[in-house]
């Protein structure tokens, strides 16, 4: 089976001593939504930054579509939505998107259609002329998400894309993720909310920088004899200790 991400013996030490990730081995599928679930401080962000290639890894290897993570040929295939907003508050929604569309090397003739498309995907068309700073928190987040969608990258890495969103919007986003999967994109989504985990096709549970489980949500529940991901998580942690 083709794989989007292959991680071998990955360890990341931050600030010289803090072991953010310890000996992670992980193979991720293509065209699925993969959830990285764990409490805050577990190492989710460090793991996705290793995949995006925006962090120096201490040991091991991270391959994305069989190329070393962060290599220049991957920059148009992988998009990254950070936890910070990472859009310009003093520009309008449209100005932000236009800029990032150009930065993503979109050919001139496709720039307009790309703008229309991503605006529609995150349901922000009617607010495209508003300054990002005047938007609500959830709307800002959608603008940031829109940037990650530009050019339909093969892999989209989204750090906490649904945090702080109302349930209706959250539902819409999950529908969007599945739509993107159907188009062939792979999504990595982090969340510290266990109840969102069951929506993912593939679940990676992390705690204290260690991988504690990787399977589909169904397998996880069956294996641990639990009725919820939260319960499984607790059982797995208990079992280890």
């Amino acid at each position: 089976m083709e794989q989007s991400v292959k991680i071998k013996n990955l360890s990341v030490t931050l600030g010289g001593s803090f072991k953010a990730l310890v000996d992670i081995n992980l193979d991720l599928p293509v065209g699925k939504t993969i959830g990285f679930i764990g409490p805050s401080g577990a190492g989710k962000t460090t793991l996705i930054r290793s995949i995006v290639g925006s962090i120096n890894i201490t040991k091991g290897e991270v391959l994305v579509f069989n190329e070393s993570a962060g290599s220049s040929s991957l920059r148009s295939k992988v998009s990254y939505m950070t936890q910070e907003l990472s859009v310009y508050p003093d520009l309008t929604v449209k100005e932000n998107l236009k800029y990032f569309i150009t930065m993503a090397n979109t050919p001139k003739k496709d720039r307009m259609s790309s703008l229309v498309e991503v605006l529609k995907l995150v349901d922000m068309t009617s607010k495209s002329d508003i300054l990002v700073s005047s938007l609500s928190g959830g709307e800002k987040q959608r603008v940031s998400l829109a940037v990650a969608l530009i050019g339909s990258p093969k892999l989209m890495v989204l750090d906490e894309p649904t945090v702080g969103l109302d349930p209706v919007l959250r539902e819409k986003l999950w529908q969007l993720f599945f739509k993107l999967n159907e188009r062939g994109s792979t999504l990595i989504v982090t969340s510290h909310s266990m109840d969102e985990a069951s929506r993912c096709d593939d679940l990676v549970l992390i705690r204290d920088g260690k991988l504690i489980s990787h399977s589909t949500p169904e397998e996880l529940l069956k294996r641990t004899g639990s009725s919820s991901v939260e319960e499984s998580f607790l059982k797995l942690v208990e079992h280890k200790e």
Partner: protein, 245 residues
């Protein structure tokens, strides 16, 4: 490096400022107001004002662009936008030169306004003429932008970034020959002045004031200013990391 991405970055930076009308107003209005005040401060020493005003025209763009660039790039580093850009196909030089072009243009407009007020309303004579004055002012703005881009890498907060102005530029300002001719300073300070870029930017403005023609000193001054700016930009690009520790 790509021109499309560089110009798109300049355009983006200028659009950000366009939405911030108050900052724009401050950039354009404060220097001519200060010049006007100064004129009346020196109301009994008109000759002194005529000497100082053009030099200030070379200093204002540098200070203002230094400040704005430091804060804006620091914001870009801390808000995650730079991080995001670095995961995209953009090259560091697109980013750096995009900023340099945007702020040099802004410096040009600032110099046009201050220069217009100085030459037109405050009756200062600059023998070298308007074009030469503007060239020196734009280069000063370019230098300020480049130094701001570079030093902002060492600031962890906007408070620190703002403090870099007195830390980096004020010492240069003290010894650049604005307050007293450089030959009259202590030897050590003369050496210090000799290796500081602002000295050359101010000296260039002096040349424009006293000479009708484009002088060899003016050329060498501007080469020094330009080289400092390019070096700061290259160092600034080196401080941008695609991978962090």
């Amino acid at each position: 490096m790509s021109l499309v991405r560089t110009f798109a970055t300049s355009k983006r930076v200028l659009s950000q400022l366009r939405h911030d009308k108050r900052t724009l107003a401050l950039i354009f209005i404060v220097p001519p107001v200060l010049l006007t005040i100064l004129k009346y401060v020196f109301s009994k020493e008109a000759k002194l004002f005529d000497d100082i005003a053009p030099m200030l025209l070379g200093i204002f763009p540098m200070i203002v662009m230094f400040l704005i660039t430091s804060v804006v790039t620091l914001r870009e580093r801390s808000s995650g936008t730079l991080n995001r850009l670095m995961t995209m196909p953009i090259s560091k030089s697109d980013f750096i030169f995009g900023y340099a072009i945007a702020f040099s243009l802004l410096g040009l407009v600032q110099a046009l306004i201050s220069g217009g007020v100085m030459l037109g309303l405050l009756n200062v004579t600059v023998l070298g003429g308007t074009a030469h004055t503007l060239i020196v002012a734009v280069l000063a703005a370019f230098l300020g932008t480049a130094l701001g881009l570079f030093t902002s890498a060492f600031a962890k907060s906007e408070f620190q970034a703002v403090q870099f102005l007195p830390a980096f530029l004020f010492p240069q300002l003290l010894v650049c020959g604005l307050f007293i001719a450089r030959v009259e300073m202590a030897k050590l300070l003369q050496w210090f002045a000799d290796i500081m870029p602002l000295t050359y930017s101010v000296d260039a403005m002096k040349q424009v004031t006293i000479a009708h023609n484009w002088t060899a000193t003016l050329t060498s001054d501007l080469i020094v200013v330009g080289s400092f700016a390019i070096a700061a930009l290259i160092l600034g690009a080196a401080t941008i990391r695609r991978r962090e520790n």
